[in-house]
Every structure is written in C-alpha cells, then in structure tokens.
Amino acid sequence: MRHLMNPLDFSVCELDTLFDLANDIERNPKKYAHACDGKILATCFYEPSTRTRLSFESAMTRLGGRVIGFADQNSSSAAKGESVSDTIRVISCYADICAMRHPKEGAPMVASEKSGIPVINAGDGGHYHPTQTLTDLLTIRSLRGRLDHFTIGLCGDLKFGRTVHSLISALVRYPGIRFLFISPDELRVPDYITEMLKEKGIPYEEVISLEEVMPQLDLLYMTRVQKERFFNEEDYVRLKDFYILDPAKMELAKEDMLVLHPLPRVNEISVEVDDDPRAAYFKQAQYGVYVRMALILTLLELV
C-alpha cells in the first residue's frame, strides 16, 4: 500500500505516468466516471481549507465514489482528545482512502504508519502540500508540453511559502531549469534552498524588481503574502502590496509566458490580468482536480 506524504515520493517516471493519466481523464472524463464506484474517500481536515477539501471531494465524486469526513478539528473526535493514530485506525474501517490536512507537521505521516488505507497528505502545517505541487507540475506540463528547460520566476513570499519550496524541490529534478527569485529582502527564499541549488549546480538569481526580469521568464509563479505568517501587522501591511502583477507588467513578458498562482489571491494579481491568455491560475485549479483524480486511482490501484 502506498501513501503520498511528500511531492518527491514519486519518481520523475512515476509522475509522468500520473500526469498522463490526469491528461487522459481531462480528455475522456466519461471513461472514468464510474472508476471509483463503491469506493469512499475520507477527508479528514483538522483545519479549515475549503479549496483543497472541495478539490478532493470533486475529484472523488467525478470518479463515481463517495466522500465522508470532517472540515475542522472542532467537529472531529480530536476535540475530545483522540490521537491521529487512533482516528486513522477508525477511519480505515469506514473508507478506502483518506486525504488528511492537519496543522501539525508530520501528522499525516503518523496516520500513514497506523493506517489500513492509503493516506494523502493534504497539507501539514508549513511543511508539505504535495497535491499542490502535483497540480503545479501538471499545469505546466499540460500547457507547455514539458517540465524541463524553463526560466521560472517565483515572486512574493518566498520565505514562508511552502508551495514555492515544494515546487523548487520538485523542479530541480528536471534538466535546464533556471530560477529567478523575486522578493523583498524580508521574504527571501531560505538558505537551505539556495544551498541545495548551489550543491546541485542549478542556476538561480535573487532580485527585487519584477519588471527587470519579466522579459526573461517562461513561467511566473506568483504567491500571496500570508497575513498569518507575520507577528507584526505593520510588516504585513508594508509587504502585502510589494508586488502587484498588472497589464503593464504583463506587456513586458514573453507572449507565451504562463502566470501561475496557488490561490487564493488577494491583490497580488490585478483582476485585469485574468482575461490575458497567459493567466493560467484558474486552469490550475481545474488541473488540481484532474491530478487528484489520477492520484486517487493510482493509490487505490484501480489503473
């Protein structure tokens, strides 16, 4: 039995198979509409996350399966003091696969060690969010036909953004990748990431100006400056509007550059950019469902 804890749990070759399946689902949704008939997905969300939870629920429902679960800690037995280990043992009796989000790092791994069913890490604190990374990779691969030989700009909160860290770790496995880290000084990418890139000999640059590097980019991954990461309101207010992607900046970009964002956005991408054919962030949400469908089928060994 296999689980998904970390975006690197799957090899590059296994990811190719997963993404091929996701693209087949995209092209032939009817073929998979009953693939999970009689199967149950448990969504165990110990902290609220409407987007990820609904994406999992949509994925299972589109496969013909059913969904049970809870959407926050207070409506689960955790409020009564039950451990994750005990909860997953019980959930294993009720469902065939589980997607778990938990505020504590490593909680889904604890669950996977005691579980009788596959467990998917749907986000564990600031640690991993592997299905977001799979979504990002599938979006790039589907819209650009490959995952190698790109100059990728990552912009915004590169210090606390776990999606950014995971995406970098996943992309370094492909040849010809060059990173441009665009952030204010306070939100620079952590040292462990730059050290890892140096060790692997992967080119990167750290810059403050988005306009300056815009013409070089094949992909631009925007992130939100997250209020909950700041102890000081003043710092948050100062940094939240540091980057706003608008049509004027988009004019500097290549004609086929893609703009990605894990969503939700606040104001880092102006709504006027939404109609630009290079804006891929809503398509990304759609690919999030396809990749979760492919993942459920793969972990349930139904393909």
Binding site: S83, V84, S85, H102, P103, K104, E105, G106, A107, M109, V110, D124, G125, G126, H127
Partner: protein, 145 residues
C-alpha cells in the same frame, strides 16, 4: 581507592565524560537487563581528569551500542571475552535514534501526540546532524539548528 573486579564477558565503556554514566545507563536500557552492571563515577583519568566507567557483564550480542556514538563518540568500548579485551569497538553514528533526544518544534505532531516516539534520522554524518522523522527539523547534539 575503590576496586571493581574484572568481568568475564561483556563490555567496559571507558572514557565516559564524568557525570554522563547514568544517562548512558538509561539510554542503553540497562535497567531492563538481568545482568551485573558497575557504574564508576569520577574515576581519576590522566587524559580527562575525571571520567565515568560502565562495566556490563552480559552476552555481547545483547546490547545495541550504536546510540553511544550519538551521545559521545569519544567513549571507548572494550569488548570482553574470557576476562580479556578481544576488541575495541569503533563507534558509528546510528542511522536512526529513538527517544534519545526530543523534538522541540511546537509545530511538530510529536508536541501533541504524547505516545509518539521521538525518532530522528541521520541527515549529515559529517556534521552529526539528525532530522526529526515527522517535521524534518534538524538537530545537532540535541539542539535545534
């Protein structure tokens, strides 16, 4: 001067930093073994000034000494058979340690699930860095990096 006799079979752990012998006794779980153990504290040492020594009379396969390398790799491990030293064991950092140090990351699942063992995986043998199995925070000598 206090004299502790020879052992026939087992281990003599020498050059333990003075005061560390009781924690080693605990980590090796010697309380669970039905064998003779001598704990010598503050023995005179030319090299160290003061040192602790542990003598454990047991079958030499009974003890997993890997954890000693994590606690202090300067400890000398003499393997005794028929009353003689037959081997000076080289200490190698264990790939995994369990309940030897604790993860202090308040965001780690071990901070709320009391019964979970604190497991650390060797991440960098040269720098003696271990990472928590669950949250991956890195530690050196029990201190968070």
């Amino acid at each position: 001067m206090l004299n502790v006799g020879k052992i026939e079979e087992g281990f003599v752990l020498d050059h333990i930093q003075a005061g560390q012998s009781l924690s080693i006794y605990e980590h090796l779980q010697l309380d669970k073994l039905d064998c003779t153990v001598a704990i010598i504290k503050n023995a005179r040492s030319e090299k160290m000034g003061k040192k602790d020594i542990l003598k454990v009379e047991c079958d030499i396969d009974m003890l997993d000494l890997d954890v000693l390398a994590f606690i202090n790799h300067n400890i000398t491990v003499n393997v005794i058979k028929n009353g003689e030293i037959v081997e000076k064991k080289e200490l190698v950092l264990p790939q995994q340690i369990k309940n030897v140090i604790k993860c202090h990351n308040p965001r780690c699942i071990t901070s709320i699930e009391q019964e979970l063992p604190h497991i650390f995986i060797l991440a960098d043998p040269e720098k003696e860095v271990y990472r928590c199995k669950y949250c991956e925070e890195k530690y050196h000598n029990g201190t968070k990096l």
